[in-house]
């Protein structure tokens, strides 16, 4: 019915030449309603997102498809983070997925089959690809050493880079950049990002040379050793029911 590694069927929606997504501009009355609700509701979980990270990710079924991501990171405790991932840092950015980040200690407790779905962050951070826009280096440095040891699991729900104007298809697993040929991020993507933030990934890499290289668990970054990626399929199935449906 739908697979993360298949192009969606042709529709007016799937052409890339118009701005995503289709639809009328937000009306004034909607804005007023939103503002009103916003004043009456506390939105606490959302206020817990206290870090913006700009980095890159690769599709687990096709490493040549690479995207710049904007992670808005919330912390559950010292070992677990949860991120809302967008395709830009603008107000009308598309919500393209969710990433979870855990410490090595927790990663080790996962069953082997589960571990295969996670990726390491060491190279991404040491190479300078992962940045906290607007944060002075001296501030972010101490925590980067911790982050460099973590593992992430990233599901992408909207494949904007293939021109989808709405979130189509099955969710896709994502992997992180890795220090092998197929895992390196295209220079033009990095350059565009650097120009936007007036930073240099190269310089960041040099400044992070002293970050300790963690030992990466053999089951992480599965594709590197096995030359196999992952796709997700959505298939019709019988629903276990307790009442008639639909």
């Amino acid at each position: 019915m739908a697979s993360s590694d298949e192009k969606p069927g042709p529709t007016p929606v799937a052409t890339g030449d118009k701005p995503t997504p289709p639809g009328e501009p937000t009306t004034l009355s909607s804005k007023i309603l939103d503002k009103g609700a916003g004043m009456m509701q506390s939105l606490k979980p959302v206020k817990e997102m206290k870090q913006h990270v700009c980095t890159f990710a690769l599709y687990a079924h096709d490493l040549s498809r690479q995207i710049e991501t904007h992670h808005y990171v919330g912390r559950l405790n010292q070992d677990v983070l949860q991120c809302a991932v967008y395709d830009s840092d603008k107000r009308k950015a598309n919500l393209i997925g969710v990433e979870y980040i855990i410490s090595p200690k927790l990663y080790e407790t996962l069953p082997e089959e589960e571990q295969k779905l996670w990726h390491s962050h060491a190279y991404e951070i040491k190479s300078g690809l992962w940045v906290n826009p607007g944060v002075p280096q001296m501030l972010e440095k101490p925590e980067l050493e911790n982050m460099a040891c973590t593992y992430g699991k990233f599901w992408c729900t909207w494949q904007v880079d293939r021109g989808d104007r709405l979130p189509l298809g099955a969710p896709a697993l994502m992997f992180s950049p890795q220090p092998v040929n197929r895992g390196r991020v295209r220079p033009d993507l990095v350059q565009r990002r650097d120009e936007k933030y007036k930073i240099s990934t190269e310089e960041l890499r040099e400044s992070r040379v002293d970050i300790q290289e963690p030992e990466i668990h053999p089951n992480a970054d599965y594709w590197v050793k096995h030359n196999k990626g992952f796709a997700v399929d959505v298939k019709p199935a019988d629903m276990k029911r307790l009442a008639p449906f639909p």
């Binding site: 069927g9 309603l33 070992d79 927790l106 040929n181 307790l242």
Partner: protein, 237 residues
């Protein structure tokens, strides 16, 4: 067995260290959070797994408009500070839903019943204001994907994403879950039903392919062959 809509398992891990918390207070102040600031609304509703209606989840949606016709929501398992981010929902108006390919439509669900039934509500917002927006939501379709199966007690987001469905008729929502939410949020679904009698669903009726095409859906993981990691990719000029 009394199935709780959310498990109260603690997330494994140590409490946040002071240094970490301080840094995040700083980054929280210095950096920009525009996409997050676009989130203006909290909606509470119920989802169940597209392959298993008996597994039901209380879903707290934090939503923002991309435009008048499209919303995107972060789904948490509670409205509290320590809530777990468990999924995502996208909401589109009927006209956009109708442009979706036929094999995409089943992944989406209609909102008419849960809105008219009183089960979908905006905590803290007076009914009269709430209904202004619910009038629109009633006619929309949603696509929900969950990543963390808190209802079965998973301490971490294990496994693969799950497509979720929403209530489409009376008798589906577990009574204990309903009563628990009504009590905690001080709402009465029955009262809301009374107030929402004049709301109407999609103009063209609920599409037969929506709501898992009336059957059910499951997700599966598949390994795919990819070029060796050490081989050279094509050069992009």
């Amino acid at each position: 067995m009394n199935k709780m809509a959310t498990s109260h398992v603690n997330v494994p891990g140590e409490p946040t260290e002071t240094g970490t918390a301080l840094l995040e207070t700083a980054t929280g102040t210095i950096q920009g959070f525009q996409p997050i600031n676009n989130i203006h609304q909290h909606l509470c509703a119920f989802h169940f797994y597209a392959h298993d209606m008996t597994r039901q989840v209380e879903a707290h949606h934090f939503c923002g408009h991309l435009n008048e016709d499209v919303r995107q929501c972060l789904i948490y398992d509670s409205p509290n500070k320590d809530a777990r981010l468990i999924g995502i929902e996208y909401i589109v108006v009927e006209s956009l839903f109708l442009t979706l390919p036929d094999d995409e439509k089943p992944l989406w669900h209609s909102h008419e019943f849960e809105v008219k039934g009183g089960y979908l509500f905006m905590p803290g917002v007076p009914g009269i204001v709430e209904r202004q927006d619910l009038k629109q939501v009633c006619k929309t379709y949603g696509k929900v994907i969950h990543f963390w199966q808190v209802d079965r007690g998973d301490p971490l987001p294990l496994g693969i994403p799950q497509i979720m469905m929403a209530l489409t008729r009376p008798g589906q929502l577990d009574e204990n879950i309903a009563k628990d939410v009504e009590k905690r949020f001080g709402v009465s679904f029955e009262e809301q039903r009374e107030q929402r009698k004049d709301l109407s669903g999609p103009d063209h009726g609920i599409h037969p392919l929506a709501n898992a095409a009336g059957r059910g859906l499951k997700t599966e993981l598949r390994e795919v062959d990819i070029p060796p990691a050490t081989s050279m990719p094509r050069v992009f000029v």
